[in-house]
C-alpha cells in the first residue's frame, strides 16, 4: 500500500508539471498580451513605449522561455507578482483562497448533511409521495442555471425582504469586528451564495445517494433478509449503507477537489471575494502568475482527491487492494 501511494504521488507530480505547461501554453495562445488592451484605449502611447514595456514584462521572450523562468521561480518558492494588482501573488491569492474555502466548504458540508439522509429515506420509501417530491426538487436543483437562481435569490431575500445583503464578503468600513460579531457578520454575507451553491449540490448528492442505496437494496442478500421477514433490521440497513458508500465516495471526493477552484458565476453575482472571480479576471487581464497558481492548486486538488478516493475504497471495501 505504501509503495502504491508513493508511486501515485510521483505520477501526480509529473502530471501536474505537464498540465501546468499545457495551461501556460493555452494562456499564451490567447491573442493580445497584457499591453495590448492598455495601448488600444490610450491614443497617446508611442511605439517606443511599447518596446520598453515589452522588455519590462519579459514579453519579448518566447513562450517556453517564459514558462521555464516561471517554473524555476515557483520551485524556488517565488510565487511571482500580480500584474493586475501590482502586489505579490500570495498577498492577493491567500485571502481569496480562504474565502472560497469557507464558501464552498460550508456549502458542501451542509449539502451532504441534508442530502444523504434525504437520499436514503427516499430510496427506502421508493415510489412514495416523499420520493416523488424529492426527486422533482433534486432534478430542479441540477437543472436551474446558477446565475438565474442567484439573481432570483438576490431579488427576493436582499432587495425585497432585506434579510441578507445583496452581495459582498463582509461589512466594510464599520469598526472592525472581532470574535463572534465578526463570525456573525461573515455568516450574514455567506447565506445567499451558500444557498445558491447548495441547491445544485443537494440535487446531485440526493440523486447519487438514492441510486446507490437502491442498488444495494436490490442485492440478493438484502432481498433475502427482507423475504425472511427482517423488515426493518437496523444491522441490515447499516450494512447496506456501508456498501452504498462506495459510489458516493467518488462523487464526494470530486466535490472536495473543487473547494479551492471557486465558483466563478456565484462569486461574480454575489461580489464575493473568492478565487473563482480572481481567476476569471486574471485570465482576462493576462495575469499569468495569479491564474497559473490558481490552476495548479485546483488541478492538484483533483489529483489528490482521486488518490484519496482510491485509498478510501480499500478502507470501505476490504476486497479492493492495491499493489
Amino acid at each position: 500500500m505504501g509503495n502504491y501511494i508513493t508511486r501515485r504521488l510521483f505520477q501526480m507530480v509529473l502530471v501536474l508539471i505537464l498540465l501546468s505547461f499545457v495551461c501556460y501554453g493555452l494562456m499564451s495562445l490567447m491573442p493580445g498580451d497584457p499591453l495590448d488592451i492598455m495601448i488600444s484605449s490610450n491614443p497617446k502611447i508611442t511605439s517606443e513605449d511599447i518596446v520598453r514595456l515589452k522588455a519590462v514584462y519579459g514579453l519579448d521572450q518566447p513562450m517556453y522561455m517564459r514558462y521555464w523562468a516561471w517554473l524555476t521561480d515557483i520551485l524556488s518558492g517565488d510565487f511571482g507578482y500580480s500584474r493586475t494588482y501590482k502586489v505579490p501573488t500570495t498577498t492577493i491569492l491567500v485571502p481569496r483562497l480562504f474565502n472560497t474555502f469557507v464558501l464552498t466548504m460550508t456549502a458542501l458540508i451542509l449539502s451532504l448533511m441534508i442530502s444523504i439522509p434525504i437520499g436514503i429515506i427516499s430510496a427506502l420509501k421508493k415510489g412514495s409521495k416523499f420520493d416523488y417530491f424529492t426527486n422533482l426538487l433534486a432534478f430542479a436543483g441540477i437543472s436551474i442555471p446558477s446565475f438565474f437562481l442567484a439573481i432570483i435569490l438576490i431579488i427576493i431575500f436582499a432587495v425585497w425582504l432585506e434579510w441578507f445583503p445583496a452581495g459582498g464578503t463582509e461589512s466594510v468600513g464599520e469598526a472592525s469586528l472581532t470574535g463572534m460579531a465578526y463570525a456573525k457578520d461573515r455568516i450574514h454575507y455567506l447565506v445567499l451564495p451558500v444557498v445558491s451553491l447548495m441547491v445544485l449540490q443537494i440535487g446531485t448528492f440526493v440523486r447519487y445517494t438514492r441510486s446507490a442505496m437502491m442498488e444495494v437494496l436490490g442485492q440478493d442478500y438484502i432481498r433475502t433478509a427482507r423475504a425472511k421477514g427482517i423488515k426493518q433490521n437496523k444491522i441490515v440497513y447499516l450494512h447496506a449503507l456501508k456498501n452504498a458508500l462506495i459510489p458516493l465516495i467518488t462523487v464526494i471526493s470530486i466535490s472536495f477537489s473543487f473547494i479551492f477552484s471557486g465558483a466563478i458565476i456565484t462569486e461574480t453575482i454575489f461580489a464575493y471575494q473568492g478565487v473563482g472571480r480572481l481567476v476569471y479576471d486574471s485570465i482576462m487581464g493576462n495575469d499569468y502568475n495569479v491564474a497559473m497558481i490558481a490552476f495548479i492548486i485546483s488541478i492538484a486538488m483533483v489529483l489528490i482527491m482521486n488518490l484519496v478516493a482510491d485509498i478510501l475504497y480499500a478502507v470501505v471495501d476490504p476486497r479492493i487492494s492495491y499493489k
Binding site: L18, L29, P145, I246, A309
Partner: protein, 411 residues
C-alpha cells in the same frame, strides 16, 4: 471509476435478459418500453422535449404564420409589456411605404394621378411636387397627422387608395410576451432561441458521444499502451478546472485553429465555436463509460469466438461491441444535452457565448438580467424555459436509465 463498474455490471444483466428472451413472453424492447412508461416524470419529460423540439424545428413556420420576425426591430417600442398591441413607429411605417413604392412604383404614380384629379376638398394638403419614391411616405405621414383627411380617403372608391388604407391597417402587431431592448417580439425570439439552445445541446451531446465512443473503444479494445495513453489524456482533461479553461478557449482566436476557420466570418461562427469548445470538454465521461463496458465485454465468449473465426477488429467493434454499449451511451447523451444547454447559458453569462443577433435562451437571459427590475419577463421567461427543458432532459435520461437497467425490472 465506480460508474464504470456499475455500468459493466448493468451490461451483463442486459445480456442475460437477452439470452433468456426466447423463453420470456416479452421481448427486451418491450420490457424497456413498459419500464419507461412507468416513470411518469420521464414521460412528462419526453413529452416536453418533443413539444420544444417541434417548436424549434417549425420556428420558421411559426414565424411565417404569425408574421413575426425575430430580427425585425422597432426601437421606439422597446420593453413593451406582455399582450400589448402596438402600431408601428413612424420610422417603420416610412420604411414600409418606401418598400411598397420601390417594389411597385406604379401604385404610387396611380394614386398620385388619381388624387390630382380628386378635387381640392381632398388633395389640398397633398404635396404633388414630390417624386415617386417620396410621395407615398409623405402621404402616409399626412394621413397619420390628419384624421379628417383619413376619413375622407376612406370614402374614395379608387382601388389603389383602398389598398393603401388596408396596408396601413396592418401596421400594428400584437406582442403576446411583449418586446425586448430593440423592440423585437419576445415570443418569436424565444421560439428561435429554442432552436439554437436545444440545437447546441443536441449537437454537443452527439458529437461528444461519437468522440467518446471512438476513443473509449480504441482504449478498451486494444488496451496496453494505447489504453494507458488515451486514458491519461482523458484523466488529465478531467482534472482541468472546467470553467476557466472554457473561458480561455472562448478567448482563443479561431483563425489560428485550422479546422474551425471554415466557419470564420459566418453569422453562425459563435454558435459553432461554442459547440466545438463544449465538445472538447464533454467526451471524457463517455469515453470512460465505453471503455469500461468494452473491458468487461471483450473477454466474453462470443467476442472470443468471433476473434477465433477471424473477424477483423473494426468489424468486432462495430458489430458486436458498440450495440452492447448503446444503452448506457444513450443515457449519458441525454444527460449531456441538459448540461450543454446549461453550459451555453453560463458562458453566455460571462459574455463568451453565442453572439447577437442570433437569439439563444442563454444570451437572452444574460441580456435581460440587469434590467430585471424594468422588464422582469425578459429574464424570467428564458430562465424558466432553460429550467423546464433541462429538467425534462434529465428526467428523460433518468427514465431511460431505469428502463434499460434490468435490476429495476426485477423490482
Amino acid at each position: 471509476m465506480s460508474t464504470e463498474v456499475l455500468n459493466s455490471a448493468q451490461m451483463n444483466r442486459i445480456k442475460d435478459s437477452k439470452d433468456s428472451s426466447a423463453t420470456d413472453s416479452k421481448s427486451m424492447s418491450q420490457i424497456v418500453f413498459s419500464q419507461f412508461i412507468e416513470h411518469k416524470f420521464a414521460l412528462a419529460g419526453l413529452f416536453t422535449i418533443t413539444v420544444f423540439m417541434l417548436i424549434g424545428i417549425f420556428a420558421p413556420v411559426i414565424s411565417g404564420l404569425t408574421g413575426l420576425d425575430p430580427n425585425v426591430q422597432d426601437v421606439f417600442n422597446r420593453y413593451k409589456p406582455a399582450l400589448s398591441t402596438i402600431s408601428y413607429s413612424s420610422d417603420r411605417m416610412d420604411y414600409e411605404m418606401e418598400k411598397l413604392s420601390d417594389q411597385n412604383p406604379l401604385i404610387s404614380d396611380k394614386i398620385k394621378t388619381y388624387l390630382q384629379s380628386a378635387g381640392p376638398a381632398i388633395n389640398s394638403e397633398v404635396d404633388f411636387s414630390l417624386s415617386t419614391d417620396e410621395f407615398l411616405v409623405d402621404l402616409n405621414g399626412l394621413l397619420n397627422e390628419e384624421p379628417e383627411i383619413l376619413e375622407k380617403f376612406k370614402t374614395l372608391k379608387n382601388p389603389e387608395i383602398q389598398r393603401l388604407l388596408k396596408l396601413r391597417e396592418s401596421f400594428k402587431t400584437t406582442h403576446l410576451l411583449g418586446t425586448d431592448e430593440l423592440g423585437r417580439d419576445v415570443l418569436i425570439r424565444l421560439v428561435y432561441g429554442t432552436r439554437v439552445s436545444i440545437g447546441v445541446g443536441l449537437l454537443v451531446a452527439f458529437a461528444s458521444a461519437i468522440i467518446g465512443l471512438f476513443i473509449g473503444s480504441l482504449a478498451g479494445y486494444y488496451g496496453g499502451v494505447i489504453d494507458t495513453l488515451l486514458m491519461r489524456v482523458t484523466d488529465s482533461l478531467l482534472s482541468l478546472p472546467l470553467l476557466p479553461v472554457l473561458i480561455i478557449f472562448a478567448a482563443v482566436d479561431l483563425k489560428k485553429v485550422p479546422l474551425l476557420n471554415f466557419f470564420e466570418g459566418s453569422e453562425q461562427e459563435s454558435v459553432f465555436k461554442l459547440i466545438a469548445i463544449l465538445c472538447l470538454f464533454s467526451w471524457m465521461t463517455v469515453a470512460r463509460l465505453v471503455r469500461g463496458s468494452i473491458l468487461s465485454i471483450k473477454e466474453q465468449e462470443f467476442i472470443q469466438a468471433a476473434k477465433t473465426l477471424g473477424a477483423r477488429d473494426h468489424i468486432i467493434i462495430i458489430k458486436h461491441i458498440i450495440p452492447n454499449v448503446i444503452a448506457p451511451l444513450l443515457v449519458s447523451v441525454t444527460l449531456n444535452i441538459g448540461n450543454s444547454i446549461l453550459s451555453e447559458a453560463a458562458l453566455g453569462f460571462l459574455g463568451l457565448g453565442i453572439q447577437p443577433p442570433i437569439p439563444s435562451w442563454g444570451n437572452m437571459l444574460n441580456n435581460a438580467q440587469e434590467l430585471i427590475y424594468r422588464a422582469p419577463l425578459l429574464a424570467i421567461l428564458p430562465g424558466f424555459l432553460i429550467l423546464v427543458v433541462v429538467i425534462s432532459f434529465n428526467f428523460f435520461g433518468d427514465g431511460l436509465q431505469d428502463a434499460v437497467d434490468p435490476k429495476s425490472i426485477r423490482r
